[in-house]
């Protein structure tokens, strides 16, 4: 099985994230980059499927040159090779442009299964997997908490508000995973050493037949009108419990008409 796992480098959420004042995009230079947490679950699921069914795991990332750190981590976990789509023209791409660019690469490299995290911690749109399925004309098997493949058939458990749906499709398919699906492995020392020798193919947009006028900030389908740091919340009332804390909290709720 030819599995492509899409990973994204995101700013560490422990650091303060800002928008740039010039083009209103995320200031990625000002923060440490880490692998998007949910994508680590995607890598783990890809590795488990490979271990069970054979095949190859390819890491795909789109991002500036420093996103190579993210590729290295996925390779150290055990992925076989990587494709890094990187081009200045991609800067500022929104979800629509990103899904278009990624779909072009996926069409070029081919896949039986595409796996990614269900959401990134920076943009948090949660739409990329659905958009990829739409663009690739592949079944959308998103928000999976369990994935099972048998022959060309794939069945997942999709998280819903009421529990979950069992969903079936034929490969090739697009899968997104949620947090509780597995426990991502830590790269071993051997894995880290081996990752240095694994092939990483770098693509510019022209290499994947990505039209320059369909990506980047200029092509965005939506725009930021303005932004501001959220005003700090007005300082609240903090009381120490002297045996009447619950009662005092009830007074507060009553003053706000919640009870």
């Amino acid at each position: 099985m030819n599995i492509v796992v899409c990973v994204k480098q995101v700013p560490d959420t422990a650091t303060e994230r800002k928008l740039r004042s010039d083009d209103k995009t995320l200031d990625r230079d000002a923060v440490d980059g880490v692998v998007n947490e949910l994508d680590e679950y995607a890598v783990e699921e890809a590795l488990k499927l490979k271990e069970a069914h054979g095949g190859e795991v390819t890491v795909l990332t789109m991002g500036p040159s420093r996103a190579a750190e993210t590729i290295r981590k996925a390779l150290a976990m055990g992925a076989d090779k990587a494709v890094h789509l990187t081009d200045d023209a991609l800067h500022g791409s929104d979800a629509l442009s990103t899904s278009y660019a990624m779909a072009q690469v996926l069409k070029k490299i081919g896949f039986d299964l595409v796996i990614l995290g269900s959401e990134s911690t920076d943009a948090r749109t949660g739409v990329l997997a659905a958009m990829l399925a739409e663009r690739l004309d592949a079944p959308q098997l998103t928000l999976a908490k369990k994935v099972e493949v048998e022959g060309s058939q794939i069945v997942i458990e999709r998280i819903t508000d009421y529990g979950f749906d069992k969903v079936a499709a034929e490969l090739p398919a697009v899968v997104s995973v949620v947090e509780k699906i597995n426990d991502p492995r830590y790269p071993s020392f051997k894995g880290i050493m081996a990752a240095k020798k694994k092939p990483v193919q770098t693509l510019a947009i022209a290499d994947a037949e990505i039209a320059a006028d369909q990506v980047g900030l200029g092509a965005a389908w939506s725009e930021v009108v303005d932004f501001a740091a959220a005003p700090p919340r007005a300082a609240g009332t903090i009381v120490k419990d002297e045996g009447d804390g619950g009662s005092k909290a009830a007074d507060f709720l009553a003053s706000k008409k919640f009870i």
């Binding site: 959420t13 659905a130 079936a168 009108v225 501001a228 045996g243 804390g245 009830a250 709720l253």
Partner: protein
């Protein structure tokens, strides 16, 4: 005024509250038209949609609309966008609502905005990003604005609309029928409201201490008619099911009132609840960052404070 499509969220034939909020919002910007996807519409549901201002109710009642994952709903809306040329399409910013919005955006060549917490003239959307640290106003610049609005972004206000029903039939493409739902598994959630749309959420964290102790959190939630949430520490420890996790890798809630008990308030948690209108925190540690957000905080042991609060709530009702 031009038509604004509102995709109806419904469960067991009942319209969810978030749809009434979306209709209220749509009324301020145009003429709302409700879109009912799937079988099971009732006279009560139609009356409810009309009561909150739906001028038209488009009903696509075929089973196959819900027999496959997301894609049929996107095809239905794309069909209506082509047919009715609406000024905008509003969906609830649930995980599935956002996926419908994403596919619809690709199909119609339109921009999409997710997780709006407010919507004004020219369909300029308010968003709260980076764990609530930055407020952004953004708008769609191409095609038909598609906007996923978070539950509790506005209070639902009734104002009658005509509620004229129109049947819609779409012929699904083969690709919309590629991911088939084999079985729907409903997990008990009792009588509590749904976490993402509840007006009040009571959440427990590490300080709760055990799975059994979550009954303290549930007791307060039930007294307030609230949903129960949990921090990642609590779900990772196995004290409460994962689907109730509030935070960065879990659910995002935006209720009128959020009560955090035994939750320190790390950025990962704040990202999931910071847009709550009123926040109450109960924690033993006076230095816990959750107190920076709290409108009201009690420094104390939740095992003392929460039962007392529950008792008072019941008494004063």
């Amino acid at each position: 005024m031009s038509e604004i499509l509102v995709l109806v969220e419904h469960v067991d034939g009942e319209v969810k509250k978030v749809t009434l909020e979306l209709l209220t919002l749509a009324r301020s910007l145009g003429t709302p038209a409700a879109v009912w996807a799937g079988p099971g519409i009732t006279d009560d549901a139609k009356a409810r949609l009309a009561e909150y201002g739906a001028d038209k109710i488009y009903v696509a009642g075929a089973d196959e609309i819900v027999d496959y994952v997301v894609a049929p709903k996107a095809e239905l809306l794309a069909h209506l966008v082509a047919d009715k040329s609406p000024a905008a399409v509003l969906v609830a910013a649930t995980t599935e609502g956002k996926e419908v919005a994403g596919r619809l955006a690709v199909k119609t060549g339109s921009g999409v905005i997710t997780d709006a917490v407010g919507l004004g003239e020219g369909f300029v959307a308010d968003q709260s990003i980076f764990g609530g640290g930055v407020n952004v106003r953004s708008k769609v610049s191409k095609g038909t604005p598609i906007i996923a609005v978070r539950p509790n972004s506005t209070a639902p206000v009734a104002a009658a609309g005509a509620g004229t029903e129109e049947q819609v039939s779409v012929t699904l493409t083969a690709s919309a029928r590629a991911a088939r739902v084999l079985e729907r598994v409903k997990q008990e959630k009792g009588a509590r409201p749904e976490l993402t749309e509840a007006a009040i959420v009571v959440s427990g964290g590490r300080g709760v201490g055990s799975a059994e102790n979550f009954s303290v959190i549930e007791g307060l939630a039930d007294a307030l008619g609230a949903a129960v949430g949990a921090s990642r520490a609590a779900t990772d420890a196995g004290w409460y099911p994962h689907q109730f996790q509030v935070g960065q890798t879990g659910k995002t809630v935006s209720p009128q009132l959020y009560i955090a008990a035994g939750i320190s308030g790390a950025i990962q948690h704040r990202a999931g609840m910071q847009t709550a209108k009123t926040i109450v925190a109960i924690n033993k540690d006076p230095e816990a960052p959750i107190f920076e957000l709290a409108d009201y905080g009690v420094v104390g042991d939740l095992h003392q404070v929460v039962p007392q609060l529950t008792e008072e709530v019941v008494k004063r009702k």
